[in-house]
Amino acid sequence: MGPLSIFNNFPEWANLLTGFIIGIGFGFALEQAGFSSSRKLAGMFYGYDATVLKVFFTAAITALVGAQFLSYFGLLDLSLVYVNPYYINASIIGGVIMGAGFIMGGFCPGTGLCALSIGKIDAFLFLAGGLTGAFLFAETYPLLLPLATSGYKGPIKINEWMGVSAGVFSLLLIVAAVVMFWLAEKAEKKFAREI
């Protein structure tokens, strides 16, 4: 039964090794997807390359459906898997700031690290900026505390909030993703551009 680290009481070294190996898979998948290229990532927002949408939603749905299957067959206790807590204001405002950073820098932190690994110098600058951003946040944290902790709703789940089962919500998400994939394929033809 998973999570294995909890049921088998992994010692620290095993936890860190697991993290490292999963990280290798993470970096490999991002790089193979083409996420080491900022012009490919930014293409999402001008319509000429929708790889971001295709990879992102396929990944989310694969993990979402996979987790439900593992839970159904008694292989994974989902109540022990971390669910992100919802702080309304921090999620929205933080997201808006991230979106601005995305379009200026052409990377998010994960894709920036991935691009750094294959030698992109612009990714090195993005990450230097990222470390600066983390430092600025730490130093301004006392000022931000009211905003960061306001509107706390706990680790609520979207299907419970909508009053449907996890399975029904997943099906709706898959239908929405298929529609978006169809639109994405059309947009790529309409706004095609050499990069």
Partner: protein, 170 residues
């Protein structure tokens, strides 16, 4: 080695999803990236200005139970991320020191905006308690409302600001 094409995006997405599922199955958590940068900053501040780290509400919370910020699942996962990207780039013939940019802008402009983008992105990620990986992708996989809201907020904002920064890309 000859340069190979990128993987089919839907196939790459499935691979990424399986890695995320593995993180949930083995470690009971999702993937992350910005958190790794945060731990690096916490460790650096503690090394350079230990007094400041001890007094600050923010940094001190990372040392409460005698923990070491770099001996951490997420930090090791980020080290793995770099190794995995390197392996993939080597296998596909994509290892090269280069500045990737639109031909219409100078290297200086690209690097300046890359830096600024990094500052904004990770600042926002600290506020939202996670970035595209930790909050949006991993959050969505566990059906967390925070995951869906952060995802829509990141992509909505990037679409909104895209017009202002179009000269950087198209």
């Amino acid at each position: 080695m000859t340069k190979r094409n990128y993987m089919n995006p839907y196939l790459a997405g499935m691979l990424l999803g399986l890695v995320l599922l593995a993180a949930m199955y083995f470690s009971g958590r999702g993937l992350g990236a910005s958190g790794g940068l945060k731990y690096a900053v916490v460790a650096a501040v503690d090394a350079v200005a230990p007094e400041h780290a001890k007094q600050s509400v923010y940094y001190s919370s990372y040392f409460e139970s005698g923990e070491k910020p770099l001996k951490n699942w997420l930090f090791f996962e980020v080290l793995g991320l770099i190794a995995g990207g390197l392996i993939s780039g080597a296998l596909s013939g994509r290892l090269k020191f280069t500045i990737e940019k639109s031909p219409k802008i100078s290297n200086k402009t690209r690097l300046l905006f890359a830096f600024l983008g990094g500052v904004f992105f990770v600042y926002g990620a600290q506020l939202a308690r996670g970035c595209t990986s930790g909050a949006a992708l991993s959050g969505m996989a566990v059906l967390s409302v925070a995951g869906f809201v952060t995802m829509m907020s990141i992509f909505g904002s990037a679409f909104l600001f895209a017009w202002f920064f179009r000269k950087l890309w198209i």
